[in-house]
Symmetry: D2
Subunit: 348 residues, 4 copies
């Protein structure tokens, strides 16, 4: 093993990233070293690339970016029992403290001391990554690397979808980016009665139909609330799953929600928004769940169940494949909106 | 309309039933008169036919039997607003008081004063039946009468299945009578990861596979607990849905349930049973739900969702069709165990 | 019985009310006529008195106002079985349809066709009121009339408090009007670990302490968020119960809520508000419940339990007593903010 | 520090225990060494003393016994951050693996690899004990040692009580041993409407009244089911908390439970019992929770809340105090049934 490796890094406090040669990370007694096989791109990576306000506050360069990946264990620390060399793994990107009240009550996904790879410490757009063994998830050896690289993000979809109960229900999913599209697939697998998916991109609405949406609505063309009200005898949907963060989606989503319905919110709003909390939540007797990360490890077990039984097939969502050296093309296509999931393979 | 009608009745306190000519029922101000289109057979009807201990205590002949049916409204009482003439309806067979604490807290399915048609008052194996309009459920006009006649029983399956959460879970369904088979279909629709179904009838196990069981196990041939333990890396299933009432099924079912799992029990045991409550429930930290009837009307809305979206198709379960005049053949085939659901059509 | 009665009415589309002589209401077959013993005043009555925007849209004069009361049944309709003459009753003010999907699934409190007494039909600030028997709640004969008159409003407090679980939890109750004060009493009875109550009125904060608040904070004087954070080792409260509708209370309440906490919202905001939904709900992984009315009849059974066991004593909240003829004094004192609950007695 | 210490041990596979001089335990990098201040006695200790069937199968002498204690940290391992020297701690007695599916989903209390101190490894009836730092719970420095020694057992009560919702409910607690009595106190703190407690010991029934039981019933003298039915207008209790393990308590408890009620079961039955699962669970539409151990650490946070707010005061339950040298007297009094909680103090 050479002493350095290729990695995409944020070198300094400015827009952009670069491919660089950096030291291969060291592992501690409870860590494993993983040779990365594939890494995928998430909206967060775009924020870091563009160096927006959130990124400027949160990111401390230099930093190896990326938090969605899979690979093979090639070395383990002294105390590691969870995995062994050659295991094929994905990883929970949130490294939690295990000691705060949230961690101590089974709510590690809202740990008070979370550190995220590719955000708060070095990430996975690299040939190698060191991870606490606790954070690794064992995959079947024959799982497709592109699917395995997406599990972290699939977990956002699964966590959101299972905040409420979808079987036999009418569901509205606002936002058909990759995580919204995966949520469509979960709703389909869970036996939702109707799946309304909204976006402004015809490309993504096509993918939504392919993943199981019964109604893919372009918000630039149709009145979503009116359409859903008409279609549901004036009642509205049972469940809103908000995956876009768009102000208009919060407004339309809650308007389309029936009295007594439930909402789960994953997408982040662009700061403070005007909100009619009376009509959206109170008069409706609605229940609203804020969603962050993935439940450790309830969400991962759910994912395994959905994928092993083939109730969910994520393959159609992988629309673009690149090598790590082509990272900039990968970022651009992700940024265009005309993509599903974009995966980079690390050769060797 | 003539003043009498054909009906299958229990004429006296003894085994058997007879086809007889009886008065067409009168309706009160809140009732509707329904011309029966199809009626299906349930295990309860067999108990009444055989005049077993339960029947001897509960049934007061003469009585028109039968509680699963569909038909068309042909007259309504003065105060009825829920339905109108010519509506195609199924019916909740439990007539509840609406005034006891259970009814007043949304738990009408355990009403303290329930009266069941075909058990406590005249039933539906007849040309006509009078029902409180409140108990009627509006079907799409083009729904198949044989499916519409089964909704009451399908409701038992749906109520049991939704006592817990099945999506991405490993589920054991003990007993593949009609209601067990319908439960298999619901588990499939809800995206269960694995569906183990058990019975002693190869006929019914074939149907179980057809309805979506991933593993149909003949308890006369294989060790169910051993098979499931082996198949689940020693863990067991996440959920037990007990639909048989067999003592051995309670024992095997709880043994196959994983620690922290959930069970929903619909089948009635043959009286007092020997039960290892420590191992079955306490040490496991299990949660157990007793199930009776159907939630009014949450279960019915679920059913509508599952059927309208075609997530569940009950058609393969209708294995035998008869006329009302052939009621005795229908009862015999139901009794043989070599049937799915048996439906009788009322001509005219 | 004379043919007319005294009643406080909204005579026309303008501010104010008047005491008038109006016909005693007729009862239908499912109704009861109640001789009112006591009626209490709610914020809604003030809106109607002042003729604000909400009132102008909703109220159609002439109308007998008032929706909180108790009294004795003096006549019942032909079909009534729930109550009999001389019964001492309170009433659920929401008259529901019993037929919409919400009513049919045990969620009558969000009935799509609710009509409220004193708002959508004649109310209880009168010598007599006609009510559907279904809406009446039987009180012990020796219950204090002033307490019995408050049950409807107490139900708002109980419904809000039981949306989450308070025992051994740290709770923030924003707003110490009568319903907020009753919520303090419920939190105390439920064994809350700490009860933070906020208001701007020293009068009401004194009452809050009397009802069981461990910390009564004047938002005009202290930084509520800072105080709670300091007091809880930086964590925040487990539960927020919002009873004020003030924009600042929504903001402070959610800021003081811990990650993974729950909120129940009863107070109505003054229209659209600026809301940081990311920080308030999403990043926190919070669960938020919109509350309206009272669960029929789960909330009422809870109330009975709390009052019968003396776990809650509402007596200290009744700060002012008037006769119906003194209605205008009663309204003024309620409007002043320097009151707990204001009750009017109907003589005779 | 000397190299040996006093400890009560099970020296061999036979009834009895002895006070012996044994080596002070060593600590690993993630452990802490605690100087024991007080230890209390539990039914499990009696099983080990008597060497019953369960003990013969589970216990491998020689073993230091005891699993309920408090004390001060006097040394910590290299990697310990949770506690520091001089901290006053209690301990979760179940040492869990952290890696099985149950541990990975926030259900460590049903860990597949649990090892219990005083059962599967050396316990706390000794001058010192080594514990994983993860298992320690920090107490206020001024907490009474006798209360602090009981927290593990109090956790059983709290875990059982919070399996359902007690506020404003009618509750039956079968069995008034120490854990049953603590459950009475929790039900009282949670605002239960009525608390029925049963036992055969007048001594313990007196304590039950003292802890808050509204009805303390001697099953040797009164018909519990009849009494409760009469007292509740024929309905029964909302909640059953079974703490005795007596066959008759299971039978009476479920008979006294209302339709739609909930039960939580902690007491272990004496092996296989005859059980009418139809009447007990199915026809009732009951929900039953098996309880084992304490939720890590949800139950502990609940305990802290109940004790800090003084909603629960366990002091009256400590009826007997001994030194460690008097262990045999302590065991005998515990065995007599004429005691609440028995605490042994370790001098020095």
């Amino acid at each position: 093993m050479t002493k350095t490796m290729k990695a995409v890094i944020k070198p300094e406090q400015a827009p952009g990233m670069v491919l660089a040669e950096v030291p291969i990370p060291q592992i501690g007694p409870q860590d494993a070293l993983i040779k990365v096989r594939a890494a995928s791109i998430c909206g967060t990576d775009l924020h870091i690339y563009k160096w927006d306000e959130w990124a400027r506050k949160r990111i401390h360069p230099p930093l190896v970016v990326g938090h969605e990946f899979c690979g093979h264990v090639i070395a383990i620390g002294r105390d590691v029992t969870e995995v062994k060399e050659r295991d094929f793994v994905s990883a929970e990107s949130h490294i939690i403290c295990g000691k705060c009240p949230q961690c101590r009550t089974g709510n590690g996904h809202i740990c008070q001391n979370t550190r995220i790879i590719g955000v708060d410490r070095d990430g996975c757009w690299a040939e190698y990554i060191a991870m606490p063994a606790y954070n690794l998830w064992l995959n079947p050896p024959d799982m497709s690397p592109e699917i395995a690289s997406m599990l972290e993000n699939f977990g956002n979809a699964v966590h959101t979808a299972f905040a409420t109960d979808l079987t036999a229900k009418k569901v509205l999913i606002t936002g058909c980016g990759p995580v919204g599209l995966m949520t469509v697939a979960v709703a389909k697998a869970a036996g939702a009665r109707a799946i309304y998916a909204t976006d402004i991109s015809p490309y993504r609405l096509r993918l939504a139909r392919q993943m199981g949406a019964t109604h893919a609505l372009n918000v630039a063309e149709v009145d979503v609330v009116e359409t859903i009200r008409h279609d549901t005898d004036g009642e509205g949907v049972d469940v809103l799953l908000e995956m876009s963060g768009a102000s208009s989606a919060f407004e339309q989503g809650f308007k389309a929600l029936r009295d007594g319905g439930s909402a789960a919110l994953l997408g982040l709003a662009p700061g403070m928004i005007g909100f009619d909390i009376n009509s959206a939540i109170i008069f409706k007797g609605a229940t609203v769940h804020g969603i962050v990360g993935r439940e450790l490890w309830g969400t991962w077990f759910r994912m395994r169940g959905l994928l092993n039984s083939k109730a969910v097939d994520l393959t159609p969502l992988v629309t673009h494949r690149f090598t790590l050296e082509q990272w900039e093309d990968a970022v651009q296509i992700m940024n265009s909106g005309a993509s599903g999931k974009v995966v980079m393979f690390v050769d060797g």
